[in-house]
Amino acid sequence: MPDGFSAGDTAFVFICAALVMVMTPGLAFFYGGMVRVKSTLNMLVMSFISLAIVSVLWVLYGYSLAFGPDAGAGLIGNLDFLGMRGIGLNDITGTIPVTAFSAFQLMFAIITPALISGAVADRAKFAAWGLFIGLWVTVVYFPVAHWVFFFDGGNGGWLGDRNGVIDFAGGTAVHINAGAAGLALCLVLGKRIGFKKDPMRPHSLPLVMLGSGLLWFGWFGFNAGSALAANGVAGMAFINTQVATAAAVLGWLAYEKIKHGAFTTLGAASGAVAGLVAITPACGSVSPLGAIAIGLIAGAACAAAISLKYRWGFDDSLDVVGVHLVGGVIGSLLIGLFATGHVGQTAQGLFYGGGFEQLGKQAMGVAVVGAYSFVVSWLLGQAIDKTIGFRVSEDVEVAGIDQAEHAESAYDFSAVGASLGRAAAAPTAEKKVDA
C-alpha cells in the first residue's frame, strides 16, 4: 500500500459501510410496520429493490458520475471510472482505498431512493417504482452527491467544495433530496383511496420499533463514517448523533403529550428518525450541546410538520416530507447557527461569531437541492406515469398491492380456503412460481 494508507481507518470505513447497508433493511421494517397488512410486503421490497438496482448502476456509471474528476463547473463527474475501471487496488483517497470509499458511498446512494418510497406507499406499481429508482439516482442522486460530497481542492462539487455549503453526512444530498422527491411523487400519484376518511393505522408498531432501532444503529456508520477516518471527528460525529437523536425523541414526545395527550410508541420511533436526519449534516461541525439543541428543535418541529399533509391535502403516506425534508432543512440551516468552527470544520455559525455568512450558504444549499430534486422528480414521475403508468388500478389498491404485484401475502391468518396446486391462482403469479 502507498504512503499515507491507514489500515485502522480502512477497517473503520468498511465497518461503517456495512452499518449503513443495514439501514436500508432497517428502513424497510420502519416503513413496513407503518402500512396496513395488505401492503406490508410491497413496502418492504420497495426498499430492498434499491439495494439491487443502485448497486449495479453504481459500478456501471454511478461512482464515476458522482466521484469521477469534475467534468466542468462542479456539476457532474466525468466518465473516467465507468465500470469502476481504472481504480487500482493501491489507489487511495485520504488514508483509505478508493474501493473502500466507493463501497461506503454506495450505501448512501442505495438508501436515498429507498427513503422516497414512504411517500407513495400502498399505490405504486412495482415495475414503475424500479424504473423510477434507476432514473432518479442517475439524474438526481449522482449529480447532487457530486455537488455536495466531491472535494478536489476547490475544483470539486459546486456546492460543497466551491461554495462552502456544509453537509457532513448527507442532510442535503440524502434527506432534503429524498424529501423533495417524495413530495413530488405523492403529487404525481395522488392520494390513496380513503385518504382522510379510512383508518390507515400502522399494522405493526413492533416492526416500526425494530426498524427505527436498526436505523439508529446503522446511522453511526452513516455519520461517524463520514469522517472517513477513525479519528476525533468521527468520535464527535458519533456522540453528536447519539445525543441529538435522544433529544429529538424527547422533543417529539413532549409535543405529542401537549398536543394529543399521549406519549406514543410511533412518536418515539419517529422522533428518533427526525433527530438522526437533522444531525446528519451537522454532526461534524457542532458541539454535543449544539447537537442536543438541534435534536430538540427537530423532534418538536417534525412532529408539528407531519400534520401539514392533512391541512394541505397531499398524501405523503409515511411522512417523508414531514420527517426527511423538514428534518433535513432544520439540520442544514442550524449549522449556520451552531457550527463552532473547531469540531471538524472551520466554518463558524451565528452563535459562535461567524455572522450570517454560513447561514446564507446553508440556505442556498437547501434551496438549490430541494428545488432541483422536486422539479426533476416531478418530471420523471410524470414521464413514467404517462408511459407505463405509475399507479396500480383502483381494484388492486383496495384489495392490497401485495397479492397483485408480488403474488404473496405477509401473514397467514388462516388456512381456510387455501389449497396446494401447481398453477397459482393469479395468471401473473404463474410465471413467477418455479416448480
Binding site: 383508518p199 393505522r201 394529543h260 395527550g261 399521549a262 419517529s270 412532529a303 407531519i306 392533512y310
Partner: protein, 112 residues
Amino acid sequence: MKLITAVIKPHRLDEVKTALQEQGVHGLTVTEASGYGRQRGHTEVYRGAEYTVDLVPKVRVEILVEDETADEVIDVLVQAARTGKIGDGKVWSVPVETVVRVRTGERGPDAI
C-alpha cells in the same frame, strides 16, 4: 331445545367456561367477535391522526341446551360474565328445531 348465544368480554371466557362445566353443560362453541353496544370504543393516536376504534373485541359463546335447563344456564352464564362495568355484553336464546350428532346420527336431545 334452545340455542343460547352470549357475546361477552374476552377475559371473562375462562370463568364462563368453568361455571358452565360445573352446571353440567357438555359443550360449547367460541368465536372471536367484535362489536359495540352502549359501550363506546376508544381513541388511538398515530402521528397526530386520531382514530376512533368503535368495534371492541368480544367473544361469542354458543351452547345448545334442553328447554328446561335453559333459564338456569343463562343465569349461571350471566353471573360468570358480569364485571359490573359497561360493555359486559348480551345473552339471548332462540328455539332450535333439530340437532344431529354427526358421528352417530342421533337426533334431538340425545345429540346435545
